[in-house]
C-alpha cells in the first residue's frame, strides 16, 4: 500500500487507473479539469495504453465513454456540473441502455459559483436517471469510489454518477492506494440489442431499470460509505452528506454527541434514516448544494418530526457549506476571528496583461461606437472577463455556444448588427451548429472567434479548434470573402478596427478570427522550448 498526496480530482483519476479503466473522456471545466490532467501526466496511463485525450465537449465525451463500455471496457467521463447539462441526453439514456464495461460519470459541482454560472446540484441528475450516486466525503473515499465504482456499475448494469464539489476537488490530502486491477479484455454485450433504444427495446430496458431499484437501494443501505453512528443525545439526529460530514466532525473533534447518518452513496439509505427518525426528536440535514435529501425527508406535506436545513433557514439556501455555518446550525459558536479592515478593496479576476482578448475588445468597442451599446453576445471563457471594466464590452454569458445563437435571435428581432464573441475552444464545443443556423439564413451578424489556440480559463488545455477554425467556417458555408483573420496586436489596432467596421456594415454573416496565442501558454511553451 502506497500513500500519495492527491487532490480530490487526482484521487479519482488514480482510483480509476488502479480500478482497471481503459479510457478517460472529458472536456475541461473547473472544478473537474485536474482528473484528465492527472491522467495525461501519468506514466502508467501511457504504459498501459489508457485513452486520455480531451473531447470536443461533454456530450461527445460521455458518448465515447458509452461506446467503450459497449465494447466491454471500463470508461469514465468527467465534467463540471453544467457540462452534465450538455451531456444530459447521452447520460440519461445510458441508464436505459445499461452498460457492458463499467461506466462512471463524474460531475464536479461548484456551490458558491467560484468559477461557474450557476450552482446546480448533480445529485438530481442521478436521481432522474435512477442510478447509484457516489459522493465522497474526503480524498480517500474519492479514490475508493473510482476504484470500486466500475464494479458497482457492472453489478447493476447501469452507469454510476460520482459527484463531488469544488472543495474536495481542489483540496489535497494523503491517499492510500490498493492493488492494481487489470483492464477488461473487451467483449460485446451478451444481448446484441441492449444498446438499441427502439421503443420496444427501451420499454423493456426501462422496466429492468425500475425492477432493479430495490436492489440499488439495498446496496446503498449496506454500503461501507453510509453509516449510522449512534450517540447518547437524541434531541437531535444529524444527516451529513459528502464533505459536510467532515465539517461536522471538525466541530465535534471527531466525537459528535448526536446520532449521525453519514451519506456518501445514494439513493438515500432508507434503513438508517428511518432509525434516525424513530430515535431522535428532530433532524438537521447538512448537504453541500441543493436541499436534495432534506426535501426527500420532509416530503410534500412536511408532517412528522421537525427537519432543519437549508429550507428552514438554519443553513443558507445557497452557497457552499463551511465549518462555521455548520457550527451555527448546531447552536455552537466557534471562536471569533479578527476584523477585516475597510481599506481592503475587491480584487476581481481580470484578463492577463498582454492577452489578445484585450486588443480584440479595444478594437471592437471602437468599431461599435457608432451603433450604440447592448449588441454584443458573448460566451464562456477568459474573454467573459470583457464584461468588467475597463472594457464593459459584452452583454451576455449564458451557456457554451450561446453567443452565436443569441446574436441570431437578436438580429431576427431587429437588433442589427448583432455581434457574437466566442473563444476557439467554445466554438468547437458548441458554436459550430449555431454558425450553421446563421449560414442558412445569412443572419446579419458578426461572429468574432477570438482564437488563442487553447482552452485558456481552465489552464491551457489542448483546444479541438487549434489550426482548424478557418476550414471549419468554410466547410459550414460561411462565404470566404467574409472570413477575416486578424492579428490582435496594439500595432494593428487601426487596421483591425477598420476590418471590424467593414464587416459590421455588411448585411449578412461575417466571421472575424483574431488569432494570437494565449499569453500564458506562450510563456510556458517558450520555457519548455528552452529546455
Amino acid at each position: 500500500m502506497q500513500k500519495l498526496l492527491l487532490l480530490g480530482d487526482e484521487a479519482i483519476a488514480q482510483g480509476a487507473i488502479d480500478g482497471g479503466i481503459s479510457g478517460f473522456y472529458a472536456y475541461p471545466g473547473t472544478p473537474s479539469t485536474e482528473i484528465m490532467e492527472y491522467a495525461q501526466h501519468s506514466k502508467e496511463v501511457k504504459e498501459k495504453g489508457i485513452h486520455a485525450i480531451w473531447s470536443a465537449n461533454e456530450k461527445t465525451a460521455v458518448e465515447s465513454a458509452i461506446g467503450m463500455s459497449y465494447a466491454g471496457k471500463r470508461a469514465m467521463a468527467q465534467m463540471k456540473h453544467v457540462g452534465l447539462n450538455v451531456a444530459a441526453d447521452a447520460f440519461i439514456n445510458a441508464s436505459i441502455t445499461g452498460v457492458n464495461g463499467g461506466l462512471i460519470i463524474v460531475a464536479a459541482d461548484d456551490p458558491s459559483m467560484h468559477s461557474s454560472q450557476n450552482e446546480q446540484d448533480s445529485r438530481f441528475y442521478g436521481d432522474f436517471a435512477l442510478i447509484p450516486i457516489l459522493e465522497p466525503c474526503d480524498q480517500q473515499e474519492a479514490y475508493d469510489m473510482a476504484y470500486n465504482g466500475f464494479e458497482l456499475s457492472e453489478k447493476f448494469n447501469v452507469p454510476v454518477l460520482l459527484r463531488l464539489t469544488t472543495r474536495l476537488a481542489h483540496s489535497r490530502a494523503g491517499v492510500s492506494t490498493y492493488e492494481k486491477k487489470e483492464q477488461l479484455k473487451g467483449s460485446l454485450p451478451k444481448d446484441p440489442r441492449q444498446f438499441v433504444l427502439l421503443p420496444s427495446i427501451a420499454r423493456r430496458n426501462y422496466k429492468r431499470l425500475l425492477e432493479m431499484q430495490p436492489a440499488i437501494i439495498k446496496d446503498s443501505e449496506e454500503s461501507k460509505y453510509n453509516k449510522y453512528i449512534d450517540a447518547p443525545d437524541k434531541s437531535l439526529g444529524i444527516v451529513a452528506c459528502g464533505i459536510a460530514y467532515n465539517y461536522l466532525m471538525e466541530i465535534f473533534n471527531g466525537n459528535c454527541t448526536y446520532p449521525v447518518v453519514k451519506i456518501s452513496q445514494y439513493p438515500i439509505p432508507e434503513k438508517h434514516l428511518r432509525k434516525l427518525r424513530n430515535e431522535c426528536s428532530s433532524i438537521l440535514v447538512l448537504e453541500d448544494g441543493y436541499p436534495f435529501v432534506e426535501r426527500q425527508l420532509r416530503g410534500f406535506f412536511n408532517e412528522g418530526i421537525e427537519i432543519k436545513g437549508r429550507l428552514t433557514g438554519d443553513l443558507p439556501r445557497d452557497g457552499e457549506l463551511n465549518p462555521n455555518l455548520v457550527a451555527k446550525a448546531l447552536g455552537r459558536e466557534l471562536c471569533e476571528g479578527q476584523q477585516t479592515p475597510e481599506i481592503v478593496k475587491m480584487r476581481p479576476p481580470s484578463l492577463c496583461m498582454g492577452c489578445g482578448h484585450r486588443d480584440v475588445y479595444n478594437a471592437l468597442n471602437e468599431a461599435l461606437a457608432e451603433y450604440g451599446d447592448g449588441r454584443v453576445f458573448s460566451d464562456i471563457g477568459c474573454y467573459t472577463l470583457g464584461a468588467l471594466p475597463p472594457f464593459n464590452a459584452i452583454n451576455s454569458c449564458v451557456d457554451m455556444g450561446a453567443s452565436i445563437t443569441m446574436a441570431i435571435g437578436a438580429a431576427d428581432a431587429g437588433l442589427v448588427p448583432s455581434v457574437a464573441v466566442i473563444g476557439d475552444s467554445t466554438f468547437t464545443h458548441s458554436g459550430m451548429t449555431g454558425l450553421l443556423d446563421a449560414v442558412i439564413k445569412n443572419s446579419p451578424i458578426v461572429v468574432i472567434i477570438s482564437d488563442n489556440s487553447t482552452t485558456g480559463m481552465t489552464g491551457g488545455q489542448e483546444s479541438s479548434a487549434k489550426g482548424r477554425i478557418v476550414d471549419i467556417c468554410k466547410g459550414i458555408g460561411v462565404h470566404p470573402d467574409h472570413i477575416r483573420v486578424i492579428n490582435p496586436l496594439k500595432k494593428n489596432h487601426e487596421e483591425n478596427v477598420a476590418i471590424i467596421k467593414e464587416e459590421l456594415a455588411y448585411n449578412g454573416l461575417s466571421v472575424i478570427i483574431p488569432q494570437r496565442e494565449c499569453i500564458q501558454t506562450a510563456v510556458r511553451n517558450k520555457k519548455a522550448a528552452k529546455k
Partner: protein, 193 residues
C-alpha cells in the same frame, strides 16, 4: 502539533509553491495534511487563498474555520488583511510589504501601511528586496515562507528538506538559491522576535 495556515496573494504570485513546499516538509515528517486551493477563474489576477492544515492527528475539514487560523501568510500587503476574519485572536499575520497593484482603486500605500501597523501581531517585510539581495529576485515567495517558519511548528531543516524534495529535479543550483531565500526570510523574523 496542529498548525492552520491561510496563504494569501494574487493569482500568479506563487502561493501554491509555498503550499507545496510546506506540504512536502509535512509529508517527509509523516504529518497529516489538508490543503485546499483555488483553481479556475480567480487565478486570472484575482485574489487567491489556500487553506493549509498540518497536524500529527487526523484532520477533518478541508477548510479552516473562521477565527481558528494560527497564521496568515501573505505575499501581498492588502491580501493578507482580507482574511483576518480567519485569524485567531492571538494569531500572527506575516506579510510582504510590496503591493501588487492591478486594480484602479488600490489604497494609498501610506494609509495601507498605517492599517497594517495597527494589527497587534504581525511580521512585515520587503520580501522582494530580500529576495534580490540573495541573488534570486523571483524567490520572494520563498523568502515569505522563511519568515513564517518560526510559526509553522516545523524546523528550518524540515522546510529545507521540503525545498529539496520539491525543487530537486530542477538541479542543485535552484535548490541552493531557494534555501538561501528561505534562510533570509527566517533570519528576518528571528531578528524581530
Amino acid at each position: 502539533m496542529k498548525t492552520d495556515i491561510i496563504l494569501a496573494g494574487v493569482g500568479g504570485q506563487g502561493i501554491l509553491t509555498i503550499a507545496a513546499t510546506i506540504g512536502m516538509a509535512a509529508v517527509n515528517k509523516n504529518l497529516y495534511l489538508k490543503q485546499s486551493e483555488v483553481h479556475g477563474m480567480s487565478q486570472r489576477g484575482g485574489d487567491v487563498q489556500s487553506h493549509l492544515r498540518i497536524s500529527d492527528t487526523p484532520i477533518y475539514s478541508d477548510l479552516i474555520p473562521k477565527g481558528c487560523a494560527d497564521i496568515i501568510l501573505s505575499v501581498e500587503p492588502m491580501e493578507g488583511m482580507r482574511y483576518l476574519s480567519y485569524l485567531k485572536q492571538d494569531g500572527y499575520l506575516i506579510t510582504n510589504s510590496v503591493p501588487f497593484n492591478n486594480i484602479p482603486d488600490y489604497p494609498e500605500m501610506d494609509e495601507l501601511m498605517k492599517v497594517l501597523e495597527s494589527i497587534p501581531r504581525k511580521i512585515i517585510l520587503d520580501a522582494d528586496s530580500i529576495a534580490k539581495d540573495t541573488g534570486n529576485a523571483r524567490a520572494s515567495n520563498i523568502v515569505m515562507l522563511g519568515a513564517a517558519v518560526p510559526f509553522l511548528g516545523m524546523s528550518l531543516e524540515d522546510l529545507e528538506g521540503g525545498i529539496k524534495s520539491l525543487f530537486g529535479r530542477k538541479g542543485e543550483e535552484i535548490v541552493e538559491l531557494n534555501i538561501k531565500a528561505l534562510r533570509a526570510g527566517y533570519e528576518f523574523t528571528k531578528s524581530k522576535m
